[in-house]
């Protein structure tokens, strides 16, 4: 279980100004929950995720994982980065094994486990290729395999499918759902696509900007498993209803932020 209590975080910009990235954030993520986070650009989504990952310091509040406070990265959490963060000089296999290596897993076991995960994400043939030779979607699958290889109980994903074309994205979403359903992970998943947030999440967290706050948490009452027929799901009434609701809320936020829009 992830508990975020009264989290506040401000950055000091290069010009010395202070940016309040997060303020008073309270959030509880249950075990095995799939939580998606939506919000306008710059509202602090990445900041929140990195704080949970223990990658950045914060100014106020606490974060607990299963009751113990977060003081840095821990073996139970692993993160999928928005921009993949693959080592360009390492092969797919080496990239997937990287996390295991950092955790001191021996070479033989490391390779074996990495291989199994590469197989899982369907990149078996590409084991010896380098990231530069892969398409965006394939790179992202490497990142996911790397995060899964360390067998985390909490998976933190920052707009993982942002850079991927729509067709590939669908395939990846389906794969992710199957893995989550199979391994019963706790997932915090940032996205800027409403459809994605609804399709994947048990609950959708809506954040607002400046300062970054949680403005609303919307439960998604769609049945699982949803991975079997995404097309059909998207045409269902409940789905359309929720996305429409989210769309309105986000549009409101957007308008608030850009009141000076020229009057055409």
């Amino acid at each position: 279980m992830i508990e975020v209590r009264g989290l506040g975080k401000s950055y000091i910009g290069q010009d010395g100004g202070v940016v309040q990235a997060l303020q008073d954030v309270d959030l509880t993520v249950a075990d095995n929950e799939f939580l998606t986070v939506l919000g306008p650009s710059g509202c602090g989504k990445t900041t929140l995720l990195k704080a949970i990952a223990g990658l950045i310091p914060w100014n106020e509040g606490d974060i607990f994982i299963d009751g113990s406070p977060v003081r840095g990265p821990g073996p139970e959490r692993s993160m999928v980065f928005q921009n993949f963060a693959l080592l360009p000089w390492a092969t797919v296999l080496e990239n997937v094994a990287f996390g295991l290596q950092m955790r001191g897993v021996g070479k033989t076991e490391r390779i074996e486990r990495a291989r199994a995960l590469i197989e899982t994400v369907g990149l078996g043939e590409f084991e010896t290729k380098r990231p530069g030779e892969l398409s965006g979607g394939m790179q992202q699958r490497v990142g996911i395999a790397r995060a899964l290889a360390v067998q985390p109980s909490v998976l933190l994903m920052d707009e993982p499918f942002g850079a991927v074309d729509e067709q590939t994205r669908r395939l990846l979403q389906e794969e992710l759902l199957s893995i989550w359903e199979e391994h019963r992970l706790t997932v915090v998943f940032i996205t800027h696509s409403m459809e994605e947030a609804v399709l994947l999440g048990d609950r959708v967290v809506l954040m607002s900007a400046r300062p970054g706050r949680i403005s609303e948490i919307v439960p998604v009452p769609l049945t699982r498993p949803r991975s079997s027929d995404v097309g059909a799901l998207e045409r269902s009434g409940k789905y359309v209803e929720i996305t429409a609701y989210l769309w309105d809320r986000l549009r409101d936020m957007h308008e608030e932020r850009r009141p000076a829009k020229a009057g055409r």
């Binding site: 990195k50 990952a53 223990g54 990658l55 990265p73 821990g74 073996p75 959490r77 692993s78 993160m79 980065f81 921009n83 963060a85 080592l87 360009p88 000089w89 390492a90 990287f98 996390g99 290596q101 950092m102 955790r103 380098r130 530069g132 360390v150």
Partner: protein
């Protein structure tokens, strides 16, 4: 560097406009390997003819003709004296440059990693870059002596700046999210250095090494010219003192050739080690 550049490079510069018209021509066959060679030779020919003509017409005591120089170069290559000198000079070069790399790369990485430190060190790097070493060679000699040590130090001082500056740049170019990623998997600081910073900065480090090699050769000759007139610098002084101009420039040709050879070697190593970075970064000097 995408289409336009590639395209320009492939079709040369003669055309002023990229229209489909000219392109209607069937695709040119694969570009000849070493298409550079004719142009290099052309430049060389122009250069050689100009040299020969100038030296023949206005030649002075210290200005040989091109043909004399070529003759002297080959003659030199057959002498034991030259190879002995090469051996002595290159001792300083090899040791000095090795020291520059061994100190310079980690120093560059440290400076790149810790910005605060770098801000304090920056002014000294600038000073090292602009100080005319020729002026301080006598002081160096007086404090370290005239042996191999002073030559080694000078070669190292000459070349280390390039290595440090480029390593530092390289580290700065490493995607910070890679460091964050490594930390998220619990990497230690040492692991971050060996697994992320060093490999990530390698292309830039290699560029620095290439530039450093050039500077090292310069330093090697300069110190021999100014103080410890052993080896290649000694040969230069001797031939100059005796007004044996063809031999003088023959020696210089050999030194420049060695520098070019070392640079090509470094470039080859660079290609081998950093294949992954091809075309993904625009580096400070290709």
């Amino acid at each position: 560097m995408t289409t336009a550049t590639t395209h320009r490079r492939a079709r040369g510069a003669a055309t002023t406009r990229t229209g489909p018209v000219e392109a209607r021509r069937p695709c040119p066959p694969r570009r000849l390997l070493g298409a550079n060679l004719p142009y290099q030779l052309l430049t060389f020919a122009v250069f050689a003819v100009a040299w020969e003509a100038y030296a023949t017409v206005w030649g002075g005591l210290l200005l040989p003709t091109f043909t004399e120089t070529v003759g002297a170069t080959f003659q030199l290559l057959g002498t034991a004296e030259l190879w002995q000198a090469m051996y002595v000079s290159n001792q300083a070069l090899v040791i000095g440059f090795a020291i520059a790399v061994v100190i310079g790369v980690p120093l560059g990485i440290v400076l790149g990693r810790f910005r605060a430190l770098e801000r304090f060190a920056d002014v000294y790097l600038n000073i090292l870059l602009v100080t005319p070493m020729a002026a301080i060679i006598p002081l160096l000699m007086m404090s370290v002596g005239f042996g191999l040590a002073s030559r080694v130090i000078l070669v190292a001082v000459f070349s280390i700046v390039m290595v440090v500056v480029n390593s530092r740049t390289g580290v700065r170019q490493v995607d910070p999210s890679l460091i964050e990623m490594a930390r998220s998997f619990g990497a230690t600081e040492r692991q971050i250095w060996t697994r992320i910073l060093f490999p990530g900065a390698l292309p830039a480090i290699m560029t620095g090494i290439r530039l450093g090699v050039g500077r090292a050769v310069t330093g090697m000759v300069l110190v021999e010219l100014l103080m410890v007139s052993a080896a290649l610098g000694g040969l230069i002084l001797e031939y100059r003192g005796l007004f044996r101009a063809p031999m003088l420039y023959g020696t210089i040709v050999i030194i420049v050739a060695e520098a070019l050879l070392l640079i090509s070697l470094a470039r080859w190593g660079e290609h081998r080690l950093t294949r992954w970075s091809k075309a993904t970064t625009a580096r400070s000097t290709r």
